[in-house]
Symmetry: C2
Subunit: 256 residues, 2 copies
């Protein structure tokens, strides 16, 4: 096995942080500002929150740290989904400019391990931290051109989310503790980008045993108040449910 001196790409983690509000899926993006020597105006652009992995932490810890520094939250659903490592990742002028300011060796190649996080966006209190002065929730349909290969990473995350949601009960992570059946259905419809039948959806969810009805109902809504439900976090995490079957309309399963 041969070793050349240049065999040392850096390793970073990037977090694709999903939230759900106003009936849309959103990404939490940070704004980076780059001094523009030509126009004397600063350029700025959006990027995924991320950081280099430190010597004393593993990948999951690095991702959790990034998430915590940005949102103040820990114990969040956070799952690695893919590593990205094209040598040509850094081609945009803005990216180079930003790296000049922040990295020891701006030309070093970086491999990034991408994570997706699912957050109840109400819980997020953006902290003006070390990453960025500004962070915003942007609807996934309105995500602009991002730095580096972050558009690829975001799209990969969305695809991974769509797949995971069909295999594991994780969508709940995007909702508050208590939610109505309609909240849940709207969330699934948003993620899967298709309409679901109300009665079939309720039946499926209730039969699956992943949620429990609370006695409590909505108050102060100008229509029939909806019942609240909670996700059975313990049951699911301990495998106490056995396998769950929540097949939706328009199946594309192969095996199971």
């Amino acid at each position: 096995m041969s070793v050349s001196p240049s065999l040392n790409p850096h390793v970073s983690v990037d977090c694709v942080i999903f939230g759900f509000s106003k009936e849309t899926l959103r990404l939490l993006l940070i704004k980076r500002t780059v001094p523009n020597s030509l126009t004397e105006l600063d350029d700025s652009y959006y990027a995924l929150p991320g950081d280099l992995v430190r010597d004393n932490e593993n990948l999951d810890e690095a991702a959790a740290r990034v998430l915590k520094e940005l949102t103040g939250l820990s114990g969040i659903f956070l799952q690695q989904f893919q590593a990205f490592g094209d040598p040509m990742r850094i081609t945009k002028a803005k990216d180079r400019a930003w790296l000049q300011g922040v990295r020891q060796d701006p030309d070093a190649r970086v491999i990034t391990v991408a994570y997706m996080a699912l957050i109840d966006s109400n819980k997020v209190q953006i902290e003006p931290g070390s990453f960025s002065k500004e962070a915003v929730w942007l609807p996934i349909s309105e995500v602009p051109e991002l730095g580096f290969d972050h558009n690829d990473i975001s799209e990969g995350a969305l695809m991974a989310l769509r797949e995971k949601v069909q295999i594991q009960p994780i969508a709940f992570e995007l909702l508050p503790e208590k939610f109505t059946m309609s909240d849940l259905q709207t969330l699934y419809e948003t993620i899967l980008e298709r309409d679901l039948d109300k009665r079939n959806f309720r039946r499926k969810m209730l039969n699956s045993g992943v949620i429990t009805a609370l006695p409590e109902k909505q108050h102060g809504v100008s229509n029939k108040p909806a019942r609240y439900y909670v996700f059975n976090r313990n049951l699911v995490e301990n495998g106490g449910l056995g396998f769950v079957n929540l097949k939706m309309e328009g199946s594309f399963t192969m095996f199971s």
Copy 2:
């Protein structure tokens, strides 16, 4: 964002190479020999084939290179499944000894991006290459303690394989071009570790449209000769099948 001088783990790829022969799933492992200064006998142990990622290649290319150097094959099913990056990965004395001999900086931390490959093991002609003088196919039930965290990686790959096989028609990659229905069923039974009903399996496979019957049959077997089938590689890869439904007995689907 702060930058410390030690923020530069190396990046490697490791390949978990699956094969299927004599009704067992096997892994292709390489044997490493480490000079043992105490006993004056050389120690040896098995490991996953892998290598550091080079400056001019992306991760997929690095994995394909490792596979090709070891087996001489390219165009093989090869899919990234997880990155592993614990700072404590290298704790075993043998690993350290081996690294001493082969790496510039034996103490540097290495992040590895793990791939799984599915091979028709008949095609493999082990090349006495740069990695190892010896490589062997070991049944997954007989994989010994491997170097580094390669046991974790192998187990992760097996889990990933079990999941993928239920979502995509990829098991075929482990069989020769032509195979019988029984070959295919045995393969699925081996991967899923459960028995499947013969009639239901045939019906499912044939209805799915992923395989085509050949006119040809077995010759020289001392029982009713089985028909040969081929996998419809083109159809599946071009999405020409639309979605496929090959749900097996004992479902654990959630959504679809």
